[in-house]
């Protein structure tokens, strides 16, 4: 099954029109010793056989009926219309809107996405999206060095460990110095030669940091140093003070929570929003409003492309070209489907249901909730026997929380528990029962 429409007669006609006798003649530029006979791959499959085989492969993964796992990827409800919209051919089979006049649908959607994120974050400029939260943070760290012409960034502990690793990789590429410090040392470590300070809130452990305090600490030492906030689950913005209000310069987030399935970690999108003064230093595609050359109708085009690789080549600020368009579209549809009321209610439910579980689990002998700060939909609990809890969860079709040893080998029996609006009270209570049993 090769999806090639031609039959042999058509191929012969076309070869004759080209003026050759065989397809091989068209490959005359390839040296003979580089030609291969046949790939060592299986023969192609019919669609029913293919579906059967791949379905069987998918069934080797366990699908759980409820989950307490987050840590960067979240189970939120996705309205049915999201997948319907992104499955429309006009969106899914189009490409980068180079020909604006025939791409107004997607261009307007991106413009609306930029607007929706700017409204949600109260920041001036949002790009058309990055690959994911981690690479968005890495590009944000880079941006701080472009803007300040300084070469060192500080990362505050509590950023998702995989994001930290990604920032380190990107910074190593450009020889940017990276220092990772706990929040309580920021006051001592911050010096005027720092390009940017990056923090996550709610942090990896679910705790909400005081963004305004961080901004003030940094800006008091050097008002030009940029403060970057990242988030792994931006649904909290339904309730939390937006970064535009706390003085943050750059906001990045993993967008998966806004309408995309977990899908083993991808594809999703990186949200990237900045204050206006950084607009010309930001990576990624931007869509702007314009008008016809010879008319009065308004329309949308790719704009400020002089920052980008296809124009600037080695002088570009980033190599990113395509964004995560279809994921971005899903996010836009999600945000407008929820509306302000839905976004507030979702965030509130995440707070409330998490609080419920947090209170109840703290009452079980042997369990201790760690940390004093307010938390959103994740929190850390010291367990008497994590392995027992995890295995009994799995037996009951429940995806267990993350044991922190995954990223912090010394933190045994510490569970990062995630609760979303998708967890019913019955599920929370069942988990509590299992936790009680696992303590015995």
């Amino acid at each position: 099954m090769d999806y090639v429409p031609h039959d042999d007669t058509e191929v012969s006609k076309m070869l004759a029109a080209i003026g050759v006798n065989s397809i091989d003649e068209l490959y005359q530029d390839i040296p003979k010793n580089l030609l291969i006979d046949r790939l060592n791959l299986d023969a192609g499959l019919s669609e029913p056989d293919l579906l059967k085989e791949i379905t069987e492969l998918s069934q080797k993964n366990t699908v759980y009926s409820s989950s307490f796992l987050g840590a960067g990827s979240y189970y939120h409800y996705i309205p049915s219309l999201v997948d319907f919209v992104i499955s429309r051919s006009q969106f899914y089979s189009a490409y980068t809107p180079y020909q604006a006049e025939a791409s107004q649908g997607f261009l307007q959607a991106i413009f609306e996405y930029q607007s929706a994120i700017s409204r949600l974050t109260e920041l001036d400029v949002t790009n058309a999206s990055m690959y994911d939260g981690a690479s968005a943070l890495a590009e944000a760290a880079t941006l701080t060095t472009f803007h300040t012409r300084k070469n060192k960034v500080i990362l505050i502990e509590g950023i998702h460990p995989e994001y930290i690793d990604t920032v380190k990789t990107y910074c190593w590429g450009r020889s940017i110095e990276v220092e990772i410090i706990p929040l309580d040392q920021l006051e001592h470590k911050i010096t005027p030669d720092i390009a940017g300070v990056c923090f996550q809130s709610p942090n990896f452990f679910g705790e909400i940091e005081n963004a305004e305090e961080i901004v003030n600490l940094v800006k008091n030492v050097n008002s030009k140093t940029l403060v970057v906030q990242c988030m792994t689950d931006p649904t909290c913005l339904g309730v939390l003070t937006p970064p535009g209000k706390t003085g943050v310069d750059v906001f990045v987030a993993e967008g998966q929570s806004f309408g995309l399935p977990t899908s083993f970690g991808g594809p999703s999108l990186g949200i990237f929003a900045v204050r206006k003064k950084y607009m010309r230093k930001m990576p990624g595609r931007l869509i702007g409003l314009t008008k016809e050359i010879n008319g009065e109708r308004e329309g949308f085009v790719l704009t400020l492309q002089a920052r980008e690789q296809h124009i600037r080549r080695e002088k570009a600020l980033s190599n990113i070209c395509s964004n995560q368009s279809l994921c971005m579209l899903a996010t836009l549809v999600y945000l407008v489907s929820m509306g302000k009321t839905g976004l507030k209610e979702i965030a509130n439910q995440n707070f409330q249901k998490t609080h419920y579980l947090k209170q109840k689990i703290a009452q079980i002998p042997g369990y201790k909730v760690l940390g004093e700060k307010s938390t959103y939909n994740e929190f850390v609990v010291k367990c008497p026997n994590f392995a027992k809890l995890a295995s009994s969860c799995k037996k009951h079709g429940i995806l267990p929380p993350l044991e922190l040893t995954k990223y912090f080998p010394e933190r045994e029996n510490e569970a990062l528990i995630c609760v979303t609006e998708q967890n019913t009270k019955a599920q929370l209570d069942e988990f509590l029962t299992l936790a009680k049993e696992a303590a015995l």
């Binding site: 090769d2 090639v4 058509e10 191929v11 029109a17 080209i18 003026g19 050759v20 530029d29 390839i30 046949r38 023969a43 192609g44 499959l45 293919l50 085989e53 699908v63 759980y64 989950s67 960067g72 309205p79 919209v85 051919s89 006009q90 969106f91 089979s93 189009a94 490409y95 980068t96 006049e101 025939a102 791409s103 959607a109 949600l120 001036d124 990604t166 899908s263 970690g265 594809p267 702007g288 409003l289 010879n294 009065e296 109708r297 949308f300 704009t303 690789q309 080549r313 080695e314 570009a316 190599n319 070209c321 964004n323 279809l326 407008v336 489907s337 929820m338 839905g342 409330q352 009270k425």
Partner: protein, 481 residues
């Protein structure tokens, strides 16, 4: 005349309504102020509540203002806009793929899929190992060039330059700079090929890490000297990077690994038929030869004695390039595609992409200026025309006039080795009948240029908006409302 403004989604809301996408709150609610200090809470959100049906209509109407491959040919050069089989959408949405968490332990099917896709790509490309982490072609390039960097660092060699031909995609130099390299640009010949003497001269400097090359190149020509090129680079201790943007015409025919390339990135959304989605999500797997395996990013899935295993970290690896595993959903689609085609199908797809491109060229070269047609060479998957039409009609005018004929336009103004380039890549999934529509349109436009150039210069006329003012957009940017 008054300005006609598009109606945005934000104008379609009602304050007093809400949709039903929030589950029941079934735990006892506490005062939010008790669990979250009021100073951490926002006031309002400036997003409307919009009825579900209004949203559906809005996006259906938007979609109708968008040309797409499923409507008619989308011949963007170097973008490989081939049909996206619908089965791929079904498999990527199977619960066992779409609903699984990246950190769950019961993931044998996902690990197997990632590993097996790597095995398929190894066979197709002649490489020794692949990483599936990179999210896009450009991300793959960055990963590949960071592998260069790690390799030379571990050897204690200082190499800080990379050679890129002038016809290369803009991402090549941009990616190299992100890894700390500066660029030596080589001027390619009329066929977009690398001049061997200049290559050797550049390599002799001793500070060159290697060469980035697309083969077939961006004018659609397979570089006959490919083996000599990679030999020269290797002779001076450099590495050869294969930009897989143009792999489509040679998959199953010839292998980059055997041409002497050390690193390759692929664009699964081009060659392996995953949808372009208006510009992503894609996936940009990177393949390497044996010697470079230690430097691949983490996590890596490897085959051990006990089955598949995951390397989360290693001292030699360049580190992480993103979170989790990669654009897994896209990998599922590409895997499904390769399984559907099999060995024969892959070769036939490659073959027919070449037949289609050369057929198109053959039907246009008597009137359009296709620079290399006199030399008896054939193109691979694409070709470039220099669009100097009568009466000053240029490539942009031709492109916009195609839109009026319900066809999408080829890539224009790239590669800038010509003045008015138009880069045409039909792909194998267009039938002769569909190609003939494009040929008829391009010939008609040429004739029209002689008698009514004004109509072309003011095109498009039938699209939802007329030709838009790019300069106006950039002068005082409006990026949100």
């Amino acid at each position: 005349m008054t300005r006609i403004t598009p109606e945005l989604i934000f104008e379609k809301g009602y304050d007093g309504m809400k949709n039903n996408f929030v589950p029941k709150m079934d735990v006892e609610e506490v005062d939010l102020n008790a669990i979250l200090p009021p100073e951490f809470q926002r006031e309002d959100i400036d997003l409307p509540n919009i009825p579900e049906f209004t949203i559906v209509r809005h996006f259906v109407n938007l979609s109708e203002k968008n040309h797409s491959l499923d409507r008619s040919i989308y011949p963007l050069g170097s973008c490989t806009m081939k049909y996206n089989p619908r089965i791929n959408e079904v498999t990527a949405r199977l619960p066992g793929f779409a609903q699984i968490h990246p950190l769950q332990e019961e993931n044998d099917g996902a690990m197997e899929l990632i590993y097996n896709l790597g095995e398929q790509l190894r066979e197709i490309c002649g490489m020794d190992a692949f990483t599936m982490n990179p999210a896009a072609g450009a991300h793959g390039e960055l990963t590949g060039i960071l592998i260069f960097k790690k390799y030379f660092e571990s050897k204690g060699l200082k190499k800080d330059k990379i050679i890129v031909p002038d016809s290369a995609h803009g991402t090549n130099p941009a990616s190299s700079v992100m890894a700390g390299y500066s660029i030596i640009e080589l001027k390619s010949n009329e066929f977009g090929e690398i001049p061997l003497d200049q290559l050797e001269f550049a390599m002799q400097g001793g500070d060159v890490a290697g060469l980035m090359l697309t083969n077939p190149n961006t004018v659609g020509i397979f570089d006959r000297n490919i083996t000599k090129i990679t030999e020269i680079v290797h002779k001076y201790g450099g590495l050869c990077y294969y930009d897989g943007a143009n792999l489509n015409p040679i998959m199953g025919v010839s292998r980059p690994g055997e041409m002497g390339f050390d690193i390759i990135h692929l664009n699964l959304h081009k060659t392996f038929a995953t949808p372009h989605g208006g510009g992503g999500p894609g996936a940009g797997p990177v393949g390497v030869k044996e010697e470079l395996i230690p430097y691949l990013p983490c996590p890596q899935i490897v085959k051990g004695t006990q089955g598949l295993a995951c390397i989360e970290q290693s001292d030699t690896s360049l580190g992480r390039v993103r979170s989790f595993w990669g654009n897994f959903g896209v990998l599922v689609k590409a895997y499904t595609y390769i399984k559907a085609l099999g060995a024969e199908g892959i070769k036939r797809a490659a073959n027919m992409s070449v037949v289609n491109a050369n057929y198109l060229r053959s039907q246009l070269q008597d009137i359009y200026d296709i620079p290399y047609n006199a030399n008896g060479r054939f193109n691979m998957h694409e070709f470039v025309m220099d669009c100097h039409l009568p009466n000053g009609v240029n490539a942009e005018d031709v492109a916009k006039s195609l839109l009026d004929r319900d066809l999408y336009a080829p890539t224009i103004y790239f590669p800038l080795v010509l003045h008015e380039p138009m880069m045409v890549e039909p792909t194998e999934t267009e039938s002769q009948r569909d190609l003939d529509k494009l040929i008829t349109a391009l010939r008609e436009i040429y004739e029209l240029a002689k008698i009514n150039p004004e109509q072309l210069k003011f095109a498009p006329h039938k699209t939802p908006v007329g030709r838009l003012d790019n300069t106006y957009a950039a002068r005082k940017p409006v990026l949100k409302k």
